[in-house]
Symmetry: C2
Subunit: 146 residues, 2 copies
Amino acid sequence: MTFAPTELLREANLRVTGPRLAVLAEVEAHPHSTAEAIVEAVRDRLGTATIQSVYHILNALTDAHILRRIEPEGSPGRFELFRDDNHHHLVCRSCGEVSDVACTVGHAPCLTASDDHGYVIDAAEVIFWGTCPSCATQATQTPPTS
Amino acid sequence: MTFAPTELLREANLRVTGPRLAVLAEVEAHPHSTAEAIVEAVRDRLGTATIQSVYHILNALTDAHILRRIEPEGSPGRFELFRDDNHHHLVCRSCGEVSDVACTVGHAPCLTASDDHGYVIDAAEVIFWGTCPSCATQATQTPPTS
DNA sequence: AGCGTATCTATGAGTAATTCAAAAATGCGA
DNA sequence: TCGCATTTTTGAATTACTCATAGATACGCT
């Protein structure tokens, strides 16, 4: 319940505008939305909105660390509210749906590479690939023809 | 040293062609190459090559599990020889360079999500983000102006 | 070795996702 | 409520990649 979009914007020194609030409301309501889905939601709220503006807003909010962008291979970018909680993602190979998972072993064992090659590592990103319950059910009912 | 491109192709029931051998030679010589870099290398070897053909070849070899495609956010797709060894990647935020890392804790602890949300998980992908040694050195010499 | 055909590559066009540049509109501090 | 910097819109461009089809090539067979 600590979701105060206006203050998030103010704290980042960004102006509070209709389109920005609409984008934030949508991302909060539907995490992991694509830019495409977000424009549509913004249009529902405000009447009009261009995809370019939404991209511009998404970039501004991502730069300000209000949003986080994830981009599973083969999918357009998706956006969620930025949380400093080290969670990871579960992606369905069949429908592309994304879910959150907390990091497996508490805090960070899987965030340490065995050999860092001299890199200064600042983050680890984990993506679990699989099939979501509803796609798994469908696949059982109508197996792929190959 | 056990790199026999011709046999890899034969085993997958694929024809052994100049372009395919050139692509494999390049990926073996420079793992994590982009399609763009690969066409250029193929052109050096064979005289001509179109980017579309290279994409076609890369897709065919990826489907045959001879290559693996990785796509760090913000980067075009990159290709490496497929090895069933569960290794992960280290990506430099500054220059985009990719290095391999063995999975941290042996076999698979970081491959198990704490809560699978009912998904049937078949793979886990880990990307470590950071700064590579040479970019880190440059950054120290000329700090960013902001 | 030569042939025929299925497989592969080249050519040309097209699409999806995203960015860039410049003009019009709007938020908000004074 | 005025002014101006910040935002949004408009319109065009770019990047990474796919699709369709025609032409070329590998390779099993004789």
